[in-house]
Every structure is written in C-alpha cells, then in structure tokens.
Symmetry: C2
Subunit: 179 residues, 2 copies
DNA sequence: TGATTCATGTAACTCGTTACATGATTAG
DNA sequence: CTAATCATGTAACGAGTTACATGAATCA
C-alpha cells in the first residue's frame, strides 16, 4: 500500500512546507530509508487537500514575488490520519541493491569490474558518513526547538552507523582483493 | 530498469533451477538486499527462453513423477548477457522501511506504539542474525564446491553485521525509552 | 480425508519513475 | 545573457504485487 501521504503528513506535523521542499527534505535527510518522486508528491497533495487532510496557506503577504510557491499546512483531520497510521502494522521492508546483487553473483572473471563497483560503493558510504555527521551536529545544536528531534537523531544515528559499517566492510573486501 | 533477468541468470550460473526454486532462494538467502515475486519470475523465464538466454532441461528421466517441475539451464548467450550486466553502472539503491519512517516522525504521543514497533524490529533482526549465522556455517563447510562461494560469504557477512547493528541499536533505543 | 506445501501461470491492478511542459528566479 | 536552480504539474509508461485458477504431492 502507498505510503506517500504519511511521509507528507509526517513532515507537515513540524512545519508548513511546499511540495518542492518536501521532496528536498526526503532526498537529503531520509534517503537512506525512504524516497519519493514529484510524480507522487504533487498529485497526493492535491488529493489530500480535497480530503481535508491538509490546507494551503494563502500567504500572498510579501506581494513582490510572483513565484508560485504553495505551502501546505496539516489539519486536525490530517493529524488523526497520521496517528492512526502510527498504530498500524508495518509493511515488510523493501530493499534493492544492484551492487550487492552483483557482488553475490561475481566470479573470478568479474574481479576487475567488481573492484570498481566496490570502490564506488565505498565512496558513497564515506559521503554518507560525512553528510550524516554534519546533519547530526546541526540537529544537536538546535535540539530544544522541536519536540521530535530526539527521534530523528536516533534514526540518523542508525543511518550513520550503517554507513560506517559499509565503509569498514568494503575496505576489508577490497584488501582481500589485493592479495 | 527491470533487473529480474539478472537475478535469474545469476542463480542459473551455478545450477539448474525451476521458477519455484528461484523464488525460494531469493526469499531465504537474498531477502536482505533483493526480492522478486512469481508474477515477475515466471513471465521473465518464458521471455528469456524465447530470447535464447535459457533453455529447459527435458529430463523426464524419473518417469514416476507427474509434477510438472520445469528446470532451466543458462545458455552461452545467457552468460554473455550477465557478463555485460556485470560491467554496467549500478542503479542507486532503493530502500523503504516503514518502521524507520514512523520512528522518524514519532512524538511523545506515540511512545506506546513505537515501543511495540521497536520490539518487533528487534525480534526480526535477531531472527536474521540467527538465520545468517546458520547459512554462513553451512556455506563455510562446503566452500570448496562452488567457485563463487567466497563472494556469497562476503555479502552474507555484511548482512549479518547489519542485522547485528540493528539488534544493538534497537536495544539501545528501547533502554532509552524505559527511562 | 483434509490441510498444507509444491508448482506453474495469468490478469488486473496499483505503484512509482521518467519525461515533458511551463515559467520565474538567481548565479556566474 | 545564459545556465542552473526553483517550482508546479501531468501523461505515459514500466515495474511490481496480489489475487486467482489449477492441480499434484505430502503430511497429519
């Protein structure tokens, strides 16, 4: 079952956001366990507005900008919806890693290519370690502002440790390849 | 782009298998980084047979059984196809964890539910640690038989360590909840 | 004997990505 | 001034799941 609405409602719980901003946040902060595309987000926002789960904030206050940035706000109906979801059973995780699939099937004939894939995998993991560390420090600084920052920090902590594991593992495998 | 054919070809590299067996192997051994459904596997096998990437082994040798179990064998064309794939760029990983999504959005109001979800998550991770350990021991025993067992062991090792990380992390978070 | 598992396959449907169209704004 | 980014939206397509149908074999 489609979960797009819950990601959106979850983010709107904290602050008013536009579709574009929602996409950006998912991309940057949630990419290690979730992803959504514009083709899902925009239609879902319209649908949820019709259903009364969100509403648009008609803040044309700063009249200078003609850039049509539509900010959404969660309604109490929306809060009910997300609360109900929170209590529901979780769907089984869905994971697909083409790299691990190749790794699993690789033979002696593929050593050269696999080394390349491994190095790329390692680099990506290092990137993630870097980004997560940054984001973590930023969140810790402003931990008082929002009520659920401690939750986000916990998820982030898992993401960081997972990325670190990936770095360690790929380093080990690469060393093994050199011998 | 659809990857079903590569999983199938990868498994057929090692041994002759039926569609049902392919599904089972993916479910048990590869579930932490890949999944496929019957609705993908069976049509893909037919298509690949037409394309000449696989062929059926008409072994009606043991005439007693009428159970129509169709075993597939990889052809040299199929081996070319998988080799080409091995050299190609990897698609970005695709991951969806409804549990982590809930964790990310949880507030004080959801503490009771989240504890339940956390315990379930922990249990599943413990199950994985158990299963991966078993499978690893079995593979190590027969490591000589197949050429690419060392690769599988490496992937399995990552899966195991990841599952262990999940157990540690959820234990910590649960302890945090108790206070 | 009846339930469960083994085994193959298809059709309908939902989900999700990609490509495209449009136009404003900002950075170099 | 031009490229990149911001911003919204839709249509078409492809991927993937689920439900169903069928029937043999095994287990209790």
């Amino acid at each position: 079952m489609k979960k797009t609405r819950y990601v959106i409602l979850g983010l709107l719980q904290e602050e008013e956001l536009s579709g574009y901003e929602i996409k950006k946040i998912i991309n940057i902060r949630m990419s290690f366990f979730w992803q959504e595309s514009f083709g899902q987000i925009y239609p879902e926002l319209s649908k949820m507005k019709e259903e009364g789960l969100v509403e648009t904030t008609d803040s044309e206050s700063s009249g200078k900008s003609k850039l049509e940035k539509i900010k959404y706000r969660i309604t109490s109906l929306g809060r009910d919806e997300i609360k109900q979801w929170m209590e529901s059973e979780n769907e089984k995780d869905h994971i697909r890693s083409e790299f691990l699939l190749k790794m699993y099937f690789a033979t002696d004939e593929n050593t050269i290519e696999m080394k390349k894939h491994l190095e790329e995998f390692k680099q990506e993991a290092e990137q993630k370690v870097f980004l997560f560390t940054l984001f973590q420090q930023e969140l810790k600084r402003i931990a008082e502002l929002h009520s659920n920052h401690s939750q986000i920090l916990k998820v982030l902590d898992l993401g960081l440790r997972q990325a670190q594991l990936y770095v360690e593992w790929s380093t080990e495998v690469l060393e093994d390849y050199e011998m």
